[in-house]
Structure formats: C-alpha cells, structure tokens
C-alpha cells in the first residue's frame, strides 16, 4: 500500500527536474495541453469567484443597497469591534465551537463506518437496496425533518414521550430542555446526512483493487485484517481531504436547522453565529455586519485548513495542494 501512495504521489513518466528557472519554458511547452485544459476552470474561478471578492470589503463599510458599493461610507473595523464586544459573543463562540466539535466527533466518522458496513455486504442486491434507502433523508428539507422530530419528541402525544411515560412514568421535554439541544441537533444531522455522506466513500471503495483482497485471503488474513490493511488505507486520503475541507466550514452551523430548533428555553446553548446574525438582520439588512461576521468565520476556517493541511503533509499525506 505504501508503494501505491508513493507511486501516485510522483510522476513516473516525466522526470524533469522541477523548480529550476532555466527549465521553465521547456516545462510550459511540455505541459501546454495541461495548461489549455486548466484554462476554462481558471477563467471560471476568476470571473465568478474572484471578481465579486471586492464584496469582502463591505465588512469595512456601512453598505446600503441604495448607495451602492462605491457610495457607501468606509467605517474601518467598526463592525468587527462591535461583533467582538457583543455581550453574547462569548456565548455564541462557545455554542458554535461546541456544536462544531460534536459534529466532527459524532457525525463525521459515521458515514465512513456505514460505508464500510455496506462494503462488507456480499449480496449485491441487498447492498443496492440499503444504499438506495439510506440516502433518501438527504432530500427531506429541514422544515420537514424538524416537523417529524416534533411529532416524535414533543410532550403532547409525541410517540417517544408516550412510550417513556408508559415505561418510566415521566415525560422529557427533549425539544425544550437545553441539555438535550445538542443531542437533538446532532441526531437530526446524522439521520438526514449519514447515508448521503457514504456516497463519496463508496466511490472511493469502488476503486479498491479486488485482487488485493484475494491475495490477502490467500495469506490467511481475516476480515478485520483486510479491513485494516487494505480497505482503510485505500480511502485514507479521501477521509483526510474531507476532514480538512470540513474544517474550512468549522464555524458554519447549518442555519436553517438550528433556527427551526431554537426555543426561548434552549437559546443559551443553541444560539450560534449564523442564527444571531440572522436575528440582527431582521430589522435592518445589515450587509456590512454579516459580511464582517462572515469574514471572521472565513479567516478562522482558513487558519484551520492551512494548519491541518500542513500537518497532513508533515505526516506524509498528499493534503489538498
């Protein structure tokens, strides 16, 4: 397996020394087709992603739609200062980070585990059947998911609570009590997205060479050893890349879901940056303020991505770039 990684990391066909300026022109000519292929994509990113980037500067303005970008006054770090000095900033930061960590710890590994479980199924039809069903919840909108959870967990004739009442003679206000909020959020995310999350790992698993299993079996390797030595290494780089990219959205909490689950009684643990900015924006379309908060979130994401990518490379992984 190690060999594989090395083989794919470096080009075996072209051994031109890299980085010496004298070879630059030669390299460019050699790779002319590759550069041509890059062109549409690079243009796309420049036009649709980089041209609008000036919008980030709105964070330093008091942007109003009717005065436009050029006509809006510059206010420096006003919005950042205000954001960091909000009385709720500490609470928001804590809630957002805890939720993000819960997500990484409890949600992130599950699609991998589920994909591995499906990978162990020999019966092709059963496997297809399971695959087709588990990805359905992804298409159910948050409004409907939250509605279904309400039906299950509410204290007024909710199915789970009726059951609890019969079993322990007591009801639990899952949807109201702060201590249940994160559990509810994470379990909804798991239910909705775990099957969808397996798709990419199944694709990675589909690329695993079957002959390797064959060889391992001849060597007397059991299922667990095959899993450990063949399957997992094959999807390792996919796992690492997905993890690093997920860190880029570390402070994004999934606005719609949380907004729908917030109640006056669980807000102390449930309010996150995204919902807070939304509430603020209700009275005033605060483009500049939300741009400032967005910029803050992006910078945190950037630091996390670059840091973890550097770490991954230190450990000999390919990383993102």
């Amino acid at each position: 397996m190690k060999q594989d990684m090395v083989a794919s990391a470096g080009p075996s066909s072209v051994n031109a020394p890299k980085g010496k300026p004298g070879y630059l022109l030669k390299d460019l000519i050699r790779d002319k087709w590759l550069y041509l292929m890059l062109l549409p994509g690079v243009l796309y990113f420049l036009i649709f992603k980089y041209v609008p980037m000036y919008g980030l500067l709105m964070a330093f303005q008091d942007y109003k739609p009717y005065t436009g970008f050029l006509g809006s006054p510059w206010v420096g770090f006003k919005h950042f200062e205000r954001f960091f000095s909000e009385p709720q900033f500490g609470m928001l930061f804590k809630n957002t980070v805890i939720l993000a960590i819960y997500n990484l710890a409890f949600f992130f590994p599950l699609p991998i585990i589920l994909a591995l479980m499906m990978n162990e199924v020999r019966h092709a039809r059963f496997k297809n059947f399971v695959q087709t069903l588990v990805y359905i919840p992804h298409f159910v909108s948050w409004v409907v998911v939250v509605g279904i959870f309400y039906m299950l967990f509410t204290t007024e004739n909710g199915i789970i609570n009726e059951l609890l009442y019969r079993l322990i003679g007591e009801k639990i206000a899952f949807l109201l009590e702060p201590e249940w909020f994160r559990t509810m959020i994470i379990s909804q995310s798991i239910w909705k997205e775990v099957g969808w999350g397996t798709v990419i790992f199944l694709a990675a698993l589909a690329g695993v060479d079957l002959q390797q299993y064959e060889a391992a079996r001849i060597d007397g390797a059991g299922r667990w050893r095959q899993l450990w030595h063949i399957t997992l290494p094959a999807i390792r780089s996919t796992i690492i890349i997905l993890f690093i990219l997920r860190l880029g959205n570390f402070l994004d909490s999934g606005f719609e879901q949380i907004f729908l689950m917030l109640t006056p009684t669980n807000r102390e643990v449930g309010e996150v940056f995204d919902t807070y900015v939304y509430t603020k924006g209700m009275t005033q379309a605060q483009y500049s303020y939300s741009a400032a908060v967005g910029l803050f979130k992006s910078i945190v994401g950037l630091v996390l991505v670059l840091g973890s990518n550097w770490l991954a490379k230190r450990f000999g992984e390919e990383g993102i770039y």
Partner: protein, 512 residues
C-alpha cells in the same frame, strides 16, 4: 470502453454546442421576452398610449398565467400594459435589495415598513406621493389613519395595501359552551375558569382528557397578532407602547395588565390547562388541533366560517361562533398597521413627475367601482353573478387561483369602499366580518408605530427577542417575578432605556 468514450465525448460535444449556441444568439431556450425591463424606454406619457407597468409583489401560492382574462380586463379599463413580477417569499427581501442595488426596480414595488426600507425612503429611493394625493378622488377618500401608519418623518412614500386595523376576533365552540353552560370570558378570572372547565370537563365526551380551552403556538407573543397583547389590551392594557401627556413611553410588558395576563398563562401552564409544548409548536400543528375539534377558543384574525367548514369534516355536530374580544370595559382590541405592505414607486424607474402622475392615476383607478368589483369578486359570469342586492360566488376555486393573487396585492378595501352589492355570505361569515368592522371603533393605537428610533433600527430584533424569551420562561415557570423584573432591567440596559428616550424625543417632535 470505446462506447463509453463515445458517450462522454458526445455529451461533451452537446454541451459545447449548447454553449456556443448560447453565446451567438440568445434564442436557444424558453427565454421569455421579459428580458428587457420596460423602464428602459420611458415612452412619452401620451394618454392614448397604454401605460407600461411592471409590478413586483409576493408570489401567491402559484403565479397566475400571463395575460389571463383578469389582467386583460384590468389593462383595458386602466389603459395599461401590465406585467406582474411575482417574487417567491423565501427570497423576497433579498431580491428587493438586489433590485435596489442594481437599479432594476420596476415601476411599482411592494415593500414592507421595516427599517431597511424606511431608510431607503429617507434617502429618496422612492417618490414622496403625499402632496399629489389630493388630486386623486379615490386615493384621497381613504381614511387618514391608513396613510399615517406608513409615514416616514411625516411624509408618505407609498400607498398602503389596505387591510382592516382591528382584526382580533374571539372565535369559540358554541356547542361546547352551551352544553357546559359557559359564557364567553371577559375578565382574566373568567378566562381561567373557562379554560379549566374545558380542559377538565371533557366537552367532546370521549372519556379522554384531550381538550384545551386554548392552545398557543410558538409565535404566541410575536408581532401584531400576539395573544398576550390582545388579551392584555382587552383588559385595558396598551397596544405595545403606552404614552402619557409628557411623552413618556412605557412598553406594554411593564404594565400591570400585561403582567396579569402573563400570570394567567403561567397558572394555566402550571395546572396543565394549556399545551405544555407551546414554545416549540408550529402554527400548523395548532391549526390541526383546532380543526380536529380539540380546542374551545381562539383569538385570531381568521374567519369563524372557515373554521366551521374545516371542523365539520371531523366533528359534524360542531358549532362555531364569533364575538368581539371584550374586557371588563367592553370591546378593546389592538390596532394593527392597516396594511399588508406598501406599494412604492421608485424614482429610478419612474423618472418624471409626469410619469409619476400616470402611475398614480392607474393606482387611483383601482378603487373605481368597476375595478373594485373586478379585484374583489373577479369577472362577472365567471367568478360571480349578481342577484338582487348581492353577488353570489360562482367558482371559488377559480377565484382562489385567478383573482385572489391580485386581490392580495392591489389596492382594495373590500366592502368598505365603492361596493354597493356585497358578496352573499353565510350568517357566521357575516357575523365575524361585522365584528371586524365594529372593532375599528374600539382599536387602541400603538403610539410608537411610525416613530423612528435609532436603537430600534440597530438592535430592535435583539431587544424584542430578549423580552419575548423572558415572557415564555415566565409562563413556563423557569423564572419567577423577580427573574422577570431582572429581565426587564437587562432589556433596559441593553438599549431598551435608550429606545424609550428616542421614542419620547420623536414623539414630542411630531406633536409640535
């Protein structure tokens, strides 16, 4: 493998062809000819030429077909060429802001009275139409309040999409009240007794404790339809804000009436006489409970007749009734803003005073008798017919699809203006309607409705949430009265006190 390659290449070719087809000429698709905003060619306002108008408004359930008979009739009468730009609700505000930023506003746009729009009004994005109003018969004939309620710094920047100002009506299960010999509650004690009697008396006689006097949804204390406000107003409390002669403002939640109302609900909650999960209940869930005959009373802006119709499907013997929301001193209801949005005229699309006058003429014509009938009832023979002193609806489904979308957006005041033959309705519908009309005499105005406060603009939603959260916690017994007082202090410190001052300042300025 070659086959697959061919397939891939084929699809790539297809994409390329489609792409190039696009860049050379734009007719590759179902691109409607709506590309060009009409605003680009301001035709000289000659009376003979039909006026070209685009109106941006909220998408109803489903957009009506273009150039349908309704639109044609409207265009013919007003000598105009109309285009309705229906914008879905989930992106409405963003779309309007993008249109403002890119100068793509149509001639008429429906906006809400919110700080963001108010500040664009102050910055001359829209025409100030106040001075012109007197020249238009219908527009100038409408009650002042409707206009006053949407003024900014005393100036009028649009026309209100008229709605009744006192919509709160008490709808209740008359059959249950009769069977249990209950009377419609007036004082808070009576409210408590009725709630208890219904919740514990098994009025549906199914042997289960599954009925409530009233059910709340999670928005029970939000905005104009707040149940807490409605009840506390009926008990003599203010509508959102109280103001004295010196201009000192007090928020409703610092008044005794409001606290008493909260205490009532706290007691009801503790004794399990209202739904215990109200803080998470969607309004759709509550609607369903009402429709399945599990609840006795509702204070709402809906009509008892539609409740009756829905209820009958599940409980054929149910009887609904509607009465005014009475307190110890008679009917007292919070006054609402009297509109469902504002039709504003942007300066970027309507460039000259002359054009403005034509657009205003169009809007004025909407309140002409012919148009009142069209907008309220549809096309005669298709949607309604005349019989004696009444009109009778012919096809309610067609009305909902073909007329209601326009009725919701265009100017109309129902039976209250220029309509001599009202729609024939069931007695219950009429009774409910009469309560609404009667309410107008008993509305309690919100004195802060059009006052501007920088703090409100800046953090109004925050402050509001702070206090509505505390109300819920108080009702649920999570905080006691001391905790509630602490929450009020916190609200004051966070900007509430400043808001009170700013309202006073703005109020005194207007009073002078």
């Amino acid at each position: 493998m070659t086959k697959k390659w061919a397939l891939l290449m084929g699809s790539a070719m297809l994409v390329t062809t489609v792409l190039s087809a696009c860049s050379s000429n734009n007719n590759g698709q179902q691109e409607a000819n709506a590309n060009q905003p009409v605003a680009d060619n301001p035709a000289p306002a000659e009376q003979a030429e039909p006026l070209e108008l685009t109106i941006a408004a909220h998408l109803p359930g489903e957009a009506p077909a273009e150039d349908n008979p309704f639109e044609l009739a409207l265009e013919k009468y007003t000598n105009s060429k109309l285009r309705f730009q229906w914008i879905p609700t989930s992106g409405y505000d963003d779309k309007i802001n993008v249109m403002i930023a890119s100068d793509e506003l149509p001639e008429i746009v429906k906006v809400s009275y919110v700080p963001n729009i108010i500040s664009s009004m102050q910055n001359d994005v829209f025409w100030e139409i106040g001075p012109y109003l007197k020249d238009y018969t219908n527009l100038s004939a409408q009650p002042e309040t409707y206009y006053n309620n949407i003024k900014v710094d005393g100036k009028l920047y649009g026309l209100p999409v008229f709605r009744p100002v006192g919509r709160a009506v008490l709808q209740y299960r008359k059959d249950w009240f009769d069977a249990k010999s209950l009377t419609v509650p007036k004082t808070l004690d009576e409210w408590y007794n009725v709630m208890k009697a219904v919740a514990e008396g098994d009025p549906d006689q199914n042997g289960k404790k599954d009925t409530y006097g009233m059910m709340l949804d999670k928005n029970y204390n939000q905005g104009v339809a707040s149940t807490l406000t409605r009840l506390s107003v009926s008990q003599g409390g203010p509508n959102k804000w109280k103001v004295d002669d010196q201009g000192n403002f007090t928020p409703e939640f610092m008044t005794d009436e409001f606290l008493a109302t909260m205490k009532l609900f706290n007691r009801l909650y503790e004794e399990q006489l209202i739904n215990q999960d109200f803080a998470v209940s969607d309004v759709s869930v509550i609607d369903k409970a009402y429709e399945s005959g599990r609840v006795a009373i509702r204070i709402s802006g809906g009509n008892a007749q539609s409740m009756q119709t829905n209820l009958e499907k599940v409980v054929p013997t149910a009887v609904m009734d509607a009465v005014g929301l009475e307190g110890p001193e008679g009917v007292r209801v919070p006054g609402e803003n009297g509109n469902a949005g504002i039709l504003a005229i942007p300066k970027s699309s309507v460039k000259s005073e002359e054009e403005l006058k034509r657009v205003l003429t169009f809007l004025d014509q909407l309140l002409d008798k012919e148009m009142v009938y069209l907008i309220n009832k549809g096309i005669e023979g298709t949607h309604y017919k005349v019989e004696g002193d009444f009109t009778i609806p012919l096809d309610k489904e067609a009305d909902a699809k073909e007329v209601k979308p326009y009725r919701d957006v265009l100017l109309q005041r129902g039976e209250s203006y220029n309509m001599d033959k009202p729609m024939q309705q069931t007695p219950l519908f009429k009774k409910n309607n009469d309560v609404v009309i009667e309410n107008e005499k008993h509305v309690v105005a919100n004195p802060a409705l059009t006052l501007l406060s920088a703090t409100y603009t800046d953090r109004g939603a925050d402050l509001e949430q702070m206090i509505t959260d505390a109300q819920t916690k108080f009702i649920m017994g999570e905080i006691d009265e001391a905790g509630w007082q602490a929450a009020i202090e916190q609200w004051k410190d966070a900007g509430g006190a400043k808001m009170i001052e700013e309202y006073k300042e703005a109020y005194l300025k207007v009073q002078q």
